[in-house]
Symmetry: C2
Subunit: 339 residues, 2 copies
DNA sequence: CCGTTGGTTGGAAACGTTTCCAATTCCTGT
DNA sequence: ACAGGAATTGGAAACGTTTCCAACCAACGG
């Protein structure tokens, strides 16, 4: 069934029918009413391919989730989809784990279909420096800072990861901790781990401590098992740690387990701070002190930025949203002994 | 840039170019080679809208996730997308929470775009009985049993939820528990909660216990906060419970917190069994005894079923995959006193 | 040398829309 | 009653493919 069938049956021309479909002006109420009635009667649905072909509008917005298993991204995805759906934009999601070639292939594949827009959640973007500069499709990075990466053509939404990590580690330092280990982040997770690490380093330095990467830092993927194994290794070689800062809640969750499995208690023996404020840290035993970044808000802003670019062609922007340290039960104060 | 540009530049006709693009026979090697070269040189990408328009093939596979926040679904989504991507099928995801009208609107919306296929994760399908019978688009239900729901036209993949729940509660009973509370499941979560509840009921009955729905059961959404609140209420009114069976791991995670917040210990005072085997139960403190259903396998089978219907028009099937009770640390045996 | 066969090839038609332009109708003020 | 403008309308062209059919060519057997 065709737009022509509707035209014929309603007694109007295809042009008029098309105008009705697209809610355009210059259609008499009588015509609109009649056409709508016929469409309803025949159960007509416009063919989206023909439509998109003509309008040279494109396939849906492509979303890349780089880091399967990072619950934080799952929390962002729902609100993102909802916000975009409100404006009638679909998303096509591609889940990727770190492997660079796989990521590149996936991006090429999606680019080839000329998506209207693109959204990147997490991931290591550095190695796409070359190709990313040429992206003209409206795109937004969530959870990574496009301007810092040097992509002037891409928008982005993040919290200030450096400041947030600094406040997390600062919290530990204020509570008297001096031997602080750090877990999480690696090449595949890219900038985000790096920034948080840098923030941690700064906080330590402000207290006159130089981070020993070999001993007190252990990288890992943002998944539970990564956090578990990394923390086990860390504790193995640096048994005197009194606190651990996990670069993500998923990691923290694994870390908590690892600490307990060594027969230590949180926060009794080791204090723990996470990052993201996912359900993990809210409901685990003990509840984990963490940095809240509001997934819904991040998603909402990302959607607005993308929509802006889509609709008005507004240019690339970097946007910061607030974070907050939320104190829970996983940090214990240490009395500092006089030296 | 056009297929015509390629034709012109290569010196062949558009028909031949099209045949090359689609890997069809009846093209000389010389022609194929030349055309491929020109395509590469010009960086040509066929327009998928024009293509689909002509081929009357359709938009991507639509996936509905009914129950935002149920981590089990997040675990399925990645592998599902990967399996489909291997066969060059895209998915567009819609996240929904329970509200029936919202769900109906979303399904209508997607149906109108004539997706190639549809996949439903979870959700309450009962109220779609009327409309679901008319679905001709190849579709598969993951986590719900189409045949039991009476949808002969839809495929589905599940574990045997009844048997699994029975073995979970059976496990508790064997360990000497007699006062067992149940949390999770509600109208919006549909069949899945019902089936598990039924399994639990059976196990109890086999031990001569009749489930008191008013006292020992508390429904809730499959999210952490739901589990927390439901369990709090349950414990409030039935303080003598020695074990809790949560109908999903997310719920179990909230339940664990609720139990601890009442000053009770798991498994010291109250034993806990979950369902799904997500990362929650694997890494929480204590680790939670649960029913493993293999998300990757579920996803893989769902993809195959859908692909089968897409490619060979194979008809709707219901498939069962294995489950397994995995014993961890959240259940303690009770010595039964002689009565 | 010619009719036949089978593999190549070109090009027109069709897919179902939107958009533009010209034509028509309807008002309005005089 | 009529000119002039605005609102409405119809229809052709275009979007970028695939597909079908007719045409071509080379090889081959008689």
């Amino acid at each position: 069934m065709d737009i022509r069938d509707i035209a014929a049956k309603s007694g109007y021309g295809v042009g008029t029918v098309s105008r009705v479909i697209n809610d355009q002006p210059n259609v008499s109420d009588r015509a609109r009413e009649r056409i709508l009635a016929v469409m309803a009667e025949l159960g007509y649905e416009p063919n989206s391919n023909a439509r998109y072909l003509k309008m040279r509008s494109q396939t849906p917005v492509a979303v890349f989730v780089m880091g399967v298993g990072n619950r934080m991204f799952d929390d962002i995805l729902g609100p993102l989809q909802a916000a975009l759906a409100r404006e009638d934009e679909q998303i096509v999601v591609t889940y990727l784990n770190g492997d660079i070639d796989e990521v590149r292939a996936a991006i090429d594949y999606q680019q080839a279909r000329h998506p209207k827009g693109m959204v990147f959640l997490g991931g290591e973007l550095e190695s796409f420096r070359a190709s990313f500069h040429e992206i003209e499709t409206p795109s937004v990075l969530v959870t990574a800072d496009a301007s810092q990466l040097g992509f002037a053509n891409l928008s982005s939404v993040t919290i200030d990861n450096v400041a947030a990590a600094r406040s997390a580690v600062g919290h530990l330092l204020e509570r008297g901790h001096r031997r602080i280990g750090i877990v999480g982040g690696n090449r595949a997770s890219g900038q985000i781990g790096e920034l948080r690490l840098r923030g941690a380093e700064q906080a330590l330095r402000e207290h006159g401590i130089e981070l020993d990467y070999e001993r007190d830092f252990e990288p890992c993927d943002f998944i539970e098992v990564g956090g578990y194994e990394a923390t086990s290794r860390l504790l193995e070689r640096a048994g005197d740690l009194t606190a651990v800062f996990a670069l993500g809640d998923v990691v923290a969750f694994g870390a908590l387990r690892a600490i307990v499995d060594r027969g230590l208690s949180v926060p009794g023996d080791v204090s723990l701070v996470g990052f993201d404020d996912t359900a993990f840290s809210q409901y685990s035993v003990p509840r984990i002190t963490t940095i809240r970044q509001d997934a819904a808000r991040l998603a909402e802003r990302a959607a607005q930025l993308l929509l802006g670019a889509l609709r008005d062609g507004s240019s690339a922007t970097h946007e910061l949203v607030d974070f907050e340290l939320v104190e829970r039960e996983s940090v214990r104060s240490r009395v500092l002994l006089a030296k």
